[in-house]
Symmetry: C2
C-alpha cells in the first residue's frame, strides 16, 4: 500500500486532500512540519508527500516552493481541496446550548459572520483545527464545540452541529503531490511547473516570458520572488499548460535556459480536480 505523508494531525485538510487525490486505500503518515514530509519522502519512509502550495484567500506558500527546490523532488499531481468549516461537538447540542467554541484563529476569522450572530458564546483560539476537535472529544459533556473539517468530526467521533459556517465558501487550497521520481504523463491537457532565475528585472522578465508567448503557450500562474541573498536577482515560479515531452515545450524551456541564470523543471502532471468537502 502506498504511504503518503502530509503535514498536520489526523483530520487536517491536508489529510482529506491526500485521500481524495489517491482514491485507493493508502497509508496516511501525519507529520509535524512541511520539512518532515519532504524528509520522509527522501528517506523512503513515505512514497509520496502532499503539501499545500497556495490558498485562494491567503496566497502562496513560499516554504513549499523552497523545499521543492532544496530537495529537487518532482511534482506528479495536484488537487484543489475546498476548506469548509463545520461546527462539531460530542453531542448534537442545540445551538443555544453551546457555551464555548474552539478553533484556529484563521478558521475563526473565516467564520466571523456566523460567530458574530451568536450570543453568550466564548470563542477561544487554539493552534490547530483538528487539535480543537480532538480536545472536545477528550473532554465531553461540557457543551463546548470545535470548528474543523468534516473529516475531523469522523476521526474524533464528533457530531456535526452546523455545516457551511464560513463567510466565503470559495476557499480552496491547492496541494501538490510530490515524489522522488517523476511520472510520465500522456495527457494532452497536462500542466508543467518550473522555476527560473533572472538577473535584474526590467527587460529580462519580458524576454523570458517571450519564450512562452511566441510559442502560444498559456501560463496559469506566475510569481516573482527576490533572492534576498543575492540582490538584483529574482526567482520566478511559473505553471504552464503543456507537457514537458511536447516539442513546443522542450523548445521553450531550452530557449529559457539560454537567457536565465538557471531553470528547474518540477514535472508535468494532469490538471487537478477540485474536491468539495
Amino acid at each position: 500500500m502506498k504511504i503518503v505523508a502530509y503535514q498536520g494531525e489526523p483530520g487536517a485538510y491536508s489529510e482529506s486532500a491526500s485521500q481524495n487525490y489517491f482514491k485507493e486505500k493508502i497509508t496516511l503518515s501525519p507529520s509535524t512540519t512541511f520539512n518532515d514530509v519532504f524528509l520522509k519522502v527522501k528517506k523512503g519512509t513515505a512514497d509520496f508527500g502532499v503539501v499545500p502550495i497556495e490558498n485562494s484567500l491567503y496566497g502562496s506558500i513560499f516554504e513549499t516552493h523552497d523545499l521543492l527546490r532544496k530537495y529537487s523532488f518532482k511534482v506528479i499531481g495536484e488537487a484543489y481541496q475546498q476548506i469548509n468549516h463545520y461546527l462539531m461537538s460530542d453531542k448534537k447540542y442545540e445551538m443555544s446550548k453551546i457555551k464555548k467554541i474552539y478553533s484556529h484563529p484563521q478558521a475563526l476569522g473565516q467564520c466571523s459572520d456566523f460567530l458574530n450572530s451568536l450570543k453568550k458564546v466564548s470563542v477561544l483560539p487554539v493552534y490547530d483545527t483538528a487539535g480543537a476537535a480532538k480536545m472536545i472529544a477528550e473532554n465531553p459533556g461540557n457543551a463546548e464545540a470545535a470548528i474543523a473539517s468534516k473529516r475531523a468530526a469522523e476521526v474524533y467521533g464528533l457530531k456535526i452541529i452546523k455545516g457551511n459556517i464560513q463567510n466565503n465558501s470559495e476557499n480552496f487550497t491547492r496541494f501538490l503531490v510530490i515524489s522522488k521520481n517523476g511520472v510520465e504523463v500522456k495527457a494532452e491537457d497536462a500542466k508543467t511547473s518550473l522555476c527560473f532565475e533572472l538577473k535584474s528585472m526590467p527587460g529580462s522578465l519580458f524576454r523570458a516570458l517571450s519564450v512562452f508567448a511566441l510559442r502560444d503557450i498559456d501560463l496559469t500562474k506566475i510569481e516573482s520572488r527576490p533572492l534576498k541573498k543575492r540582490a538584483f536577482e529574482y526567482l520566478f515560479f511559473v505553471d504552464l499548460k503543456g507537457n514537458m515531452k511536447d516539442q513546443k515545450i522542450i523548445n521553450a524551456i531550452n530557449h529559457l535556459k539560454e537567457i536565465s541564470q538557471s531553470v528547474m523543471v518540477f514535472g508535468s502532471y494532469e490538471m487537478g480536480k477540485t474536491y468539495r468537502s
Copy 2:
C-alpha cells in the same frame, strides 16, 4: 497624535513595524483582524493602518491584497520588518532551568534547531507570540518561557534569556502603510503599486508587461491570481520603480488601461527601509 491601527496584540511584529515606520510618537491601536484595521481607517477611528503584505519565507498575503481592492485605500509607505525571535521569561533563568516553552507554531518551527538542542523541555504551541509572552507575565515563577519579539518582552516586562534563536535570520515581513487618501511623493526613487485584470492569459500578460518593458520601467514584484468567480480572467499585482506623477509612468498606465479589463493604482511611495529587531 496620529492613530495607527495594526493587527495583533501589543508586542506583535506589526506593532514594531508601525512604530519603526512612523518614528514620531503615535497612538497604537491593536485590532483583532486585518478587516478591523481597514474598518478603523474607513470610520476615521484610525488615521493609518499597517498591514503585512508578504513574508520572505511564507509568501504573499492575499487577504491584504483583497482588502486593498475592496476599500480602495491608498498605499502611502512600506516597511521591511525583520522577524527575530527571543526567548523570554519573568526572570533571567539559566537555560538548564527552563521547563516549558510557549509560542505560535510558526515561530516554534522557525526556532526548531535551537529547540532541538534543548533537553527535558516541553514545547507548547499557543496561538500568538505576544499572547505567549503575556501568559508568562501573568503566571510568573514557574520556570516557563515564551518565544516572541523583543518588543513583547518590553511590553510585558519580561527578561530576555536568549536572542537570535531562529534557524534563518533572513526572515522579513513587508508591511504596507495605508490611508484613505494618498500622499504626494516627490522622491525620484518612488515605488508604485497597482493591480490589473486581464482576460485569458497567453499573449495578454506578455502584452501587458510590454507597456512597462518598452518604457524601461523596472518591476520589483509580479504576482498572478486567478479570479475564481470569473473563469479565464486573472488579476495581477505589480510593484514598479517610478512615481505615478512621472510622464513615463502615466503613459504606461494609460497604455495598460487600453488593454486591461480594469486597472487600480494603489499609490506611489518612498522605497521602504529595513528594520532589524
